[in-house]
Symmetry: C2
Subunit: 196 residues, 2 copies
DNA sequence: GCTTTTACCATGCACTCGCATGAGAAAAAT
DNA sequence: ATTTTTCTCATGCGAGTGCATGGTAAAAGC
């Protein structure tokens, strides 16, 4: 076996190029040629690792999911109380700095694209489920720790919180809210769930 | 002057065709040819009313804004109390039946597209502002009528409510929530704002 | 040294894209 | 009846699209 190549690394590299193209020029200008140029490799090389354009997009979408998972995991490692985890996780998902804006712009593009592509919708649903159950878990833990009021409907609160986060994204990206305003909105909402 | 043609009607017709293409095949398969075919007219005719593709998309986006405005106005006409108006308006914006799903699929596509197009972002921001101030107004009226608790921050509540609505859209379109669950979420949230 | 396997590339194909152009049909104005 | 204005269309252009193909370089196995 010649030229030992880390396939996983190559796919990551390609996915990164797809992300940059989506971010800079939008989903509709993603093409094999454009991505290959962005990745600094020939079109044939891209085709070697990715058989079709749809698969390439799916790969890029899955990488976004992984990225989000990693960021959430990092939050868990650094925070102490369930309520801190909850608050910081939501903030982590919002476009409050350049890197998170980058991530969210791409997410928005895939959100629209997933409405038309069933494959992408499936990946999207998986992400929803895992994130929602994580948030619900934290809410429950915060209740147990006496940080949140006990009579909350955990599932509904998680859904509302996450919907809020998702809904504020585009308005923020488009310049309707400043990062400070977004954080203030989140804290205002969390305040009413607080025990005491 | 020959062949008196209602330009406004033609533009509406073209915008409708753009909507159908976006809905059925996604934003990235919107092309002058595709839209012309969908509109049942020649490509040249479309070009006569719309000088560029960007302008065509802008036209279609503005029409969505008008459509939303009309639906909200209809809600106001049929409801009695401010809280009813508030609740029904939000429900009106959610993909709870086929027509509203249709509208929201297109809205999602434009949301992603507006992140890359500044013209579209401007239209989007205008829609945000007017809808947010409308919701805030209703919340204030509901407070005055004793339907909502008095100490609410009107602006923040409007922002949170609208963000929730926007955020729940994609999850619903992608099949993560049923219409009943969405309505239940909204009512659960509104319940905690209720006076008494 | 030779074969086999893996990685990569250049090119071709049929098709679509946005947009420009020029010709022509049709109705009001004269 | 002729001119003028408004509308519509067919067509061409250069560029870009996804994908398939055949060839090539290089390293591992024998």
């Amino acid at each position: 076996m010649p030229k030992i190549v880390d396939h996983e690394a190559r796919r990551r590299h390609i996915a990164g190029a797809v992300h940059r193209v989506i971010h800079d020029k939008g989903m509709e200008s993603v093409s094999l040629r454009e991505v290959a140029a962005e990745a600094g490799m020939s079109m044939g090389a891209v085709q070697y690792y990715v058989t079709t354009k749809d698969q390439m997009l799916l790969l890029a979408l899955e990488r976004i999911g992984i990225w989000i998972g990693e960021r959430v995991a990092a939050v868990v490692a650094h925070q102490t109380t369930p309520l801190d985890v909850l608050r910081t996780t939501v903030l982590e998902l919002l476009p409050l700095d350049e890197e998170r804006s980058y991530l969210n712009r791409i997410g928005q593009a895939f959100q629209a694209s997933s409405v038309v592509s069933e494959n992408q919708a499936a990946v999207m649903r998986m992400g929803y489920s895992s994130l929602l159950s994580f948030l619900a878990e934290q809410i429950r833990a915060a209740q147990a720790a006496g940080q949140l009021v006990a009579h909350l409907d955990v599932g509904k609160e998680a859904s509302i919180l996450y919907a809020f986060a998702q809904g504020i994204v585009n308005a923020t990206l488009v310049g309707h809210y400043t990062p400070e305003e977004v954080a203030a909105l989140l804290d205002y909402h969390l305040a009413r769930l607080r025990a005491g």
